[in-house]
């Protein structure tokens, strides 16, 4: 593992240079697929890019004091964390990973949501605070399932290295865990039926209610990058071992897009659940998957 490999992973593929256009592309796929499912024409191909451009050109009102400074910084931190999470994905077998990068990836995936909570509270908007409180509650609910699923995989393979996990062959346990992660993704990406956080119209725009122009553009970008990282994690876990780098990249993108389409389908077919139903869903229904997953992981380990 040398510096040039690390830089190329974080800056080129699957880092910034790939992840930013991919983020816009995934956002477009999500909106377009949603439109097609509702028999609409949907937005043009470059729509998320146009939105970003326009938002960058808007005027941001002067906000004095430390909270104004924080409101400028949260979106930038979110983008940085989400882009870092994309860069960690072991798409190409370059040997650039290290033992424990799975833990770093999980924490970087959490950071944008943490900053969204902080952003809602530092904007001092009533609606922002309600959105943040909802996001915090959902975070606790789905993360039990999400983290246990990933830990189940890691325990069964006895490693915290992403590269080793991606190279190990899948078992039925792996698919149970992938299913559990898929169940958590709608909540992580604020999609229906778990779109409580930014519940459109209901609590204005949730945590981002007060955010304007470039700050909002950065939040949108961070959201797109979260899409890339979260669907990428599933794609990496599902993908078969491929030595050829370009073929591996193509399979990665195809699998990610499949996940995006599945999540959009779920979002189009469901309505928003209330907070108690959402938490109960993760606390009771989704927990069954995890009990199966983790217990079989421990059994596999005993057999080994």
């Amino acid at each position: 593992m040398n510096l040039s490999t690390i830089l190329s992973r974080f800056l080129v593929f699957p880092g910034l240079l790939f992840a930013v256009p991919a983020a816009w592309f995934y956002l477009w796929v999500e909106r377009k697929a949603m439109a097609k499912m509702q028999r609409r024409i949907g937005p043009p191909f470059m729509q998320p890019f146009f939105d970003f451009l326009k938002l960058m050109g808007k005027e941001v009102p002067a906000r004095p004091g430390f909270s104004g400074f924080l409101m400028k910084m949260w979106p930038i931190f979110s983008v940085a964390a989400a882009a870092g999470a994309c860069g960690l994905l072991p798409v190409i077998q370059s040997g650039a990973g290290f033992n424990g990068d799975l833990i770093l990836l999980l924490s970087l995936l959490e950071v944008p949501s943490m900053f969204l909570i902080a952003a809602g509270f530092s904007s001092r908007s009533l609606w922002g605070e309600i959105g943040s409180a909802r996001e915090a509650t959902m975070n606790v609910a789905y993360n039990i399932v999400f983290l246990m699923a990933v830990i189940g995989i890691a325990v069964s393979q006895q490693t915290f290295s992403l590269q080793a996990l991606a190279q190990s062959h899948g078992s039925i346990l792996r698919w149970v865990a992938v299913l559990a992660i898929l169940v958590c993704l709608p909540a992580k990406l604020h999609m229906n039926p778990f779109s409580l956080t930014n519940a459109e119209q209901e609590i204005y725009a949730g945590p981002t209610t007060e955010y304007v122009g470039a700050e909002l553009a950065m939040f949108e970008l961070a959201h797109g990058l979260e899409w890339v990282a979260a669907t990428g994690l599933v794609a990496v876990l599902m993908a078969p071992m491929i030595a050829n780098p370009s073929a591996a990249a193509a399979v990665f993108v195809a699998l990610s897009l499949l996940v995006v389409l599945v999540l959009t389908g779920i979002a189009a077919g469901t309505a928003r659940l209330a907070i108690d139903s959402s938490v109960r869903f993760y606390g009771q229904c989704a927990l069954i998957l995890i009990v199966i997953g983790v217990s079989s992981a421990l059994l596999m380990r005993m057999k080994l």
Binding site: R31, A35, Q38, R39, R40, I41, G42, P43, P44, M46, Q47, F50, D51, F52, L53, K54, M56, G57, K58, E59, V60, P61, W127, E200, Q201, Y204, A205, T208, T209, E210, Y211, V212, G213, L216
Partner: protein, 174 residues
């Protein structure tokens, strides 16, 4: 024109985000605005998004004849939308106060209080007329980007003054 300004024009033309404000409307125009977003008219193909927060919006769609109660909220919302912004008056009410003309509960018409860019007349106007009005407002935003920076675009011009006065005259004649 620099590349950045060209891109900015393109972005503003292609991505109009709306905030809808009801200033005492009978709900007729509001229903038509929502109808413009439904699959039959599909405003999203123009990049239109109905934004829940005025802070995110570019274009404020105002329906209703502007009652005294709504006036303060109207001015607040207008101030909350960041520059550059455009105002679309939906229906005959904000343009001329329509059948409520001379009512003592009204502070309208709308352009007495905030500058209006596009009038979409009708009682209520059809969804395709609303879409045309929104597209026109997005074009106006893009044209403003050609000539000014975002900070300078503070005083929007009323573009279809003639149309508005005609309509007022028409209503008065009735």
């Amino acid at each position: 024109m620099s590349l950045w300004k060209k891109l900015l024009c393109l972005g503003r033309r292609k991505s109009p985000w709306l905030f809808h404000m009801n200033s005492g409307s009978c709900n007729g125009c509001d229903i038509e605005l929502i109808a413009a977003l439904t699959p039959r008219y599909d405003a999203e193909q123009l990049g239109v998004k109905l934004e829940p927060s005025p802070r995110h919006a570019d274009i404020i769609c105002i329906s209703g004849p502007v009652t005294h109660t709504a006036l303060k909220a109207l001015k607040t919302v207008y101030g909350q939308v960041p520059n550059p912004k455009a105002v679309v008056a939906i229906g005959s009410c904000p343009a001329s106060t329509n059948v409520f003309i001379d009512s003592r509960v009204l502070a309208g018409p709308l352009d007495k209080h905030i500058p209006v860019d596009v009038y979409v007349p009708g009682c209520p106007p059809r969804p395709d007329a609303i879409l045309q009005g929104v597209a026109k407002a997005a074009q106006i935003l893009a044209e403003r980007a050609e000539v000014e920076s975002a900070a300078e675009a503070k005083q929007p011009q009323v573009v279809t003054q003639a149309q508005q006065t005609n309509e007022t005259a028409e209503v008065k004649a009735q």
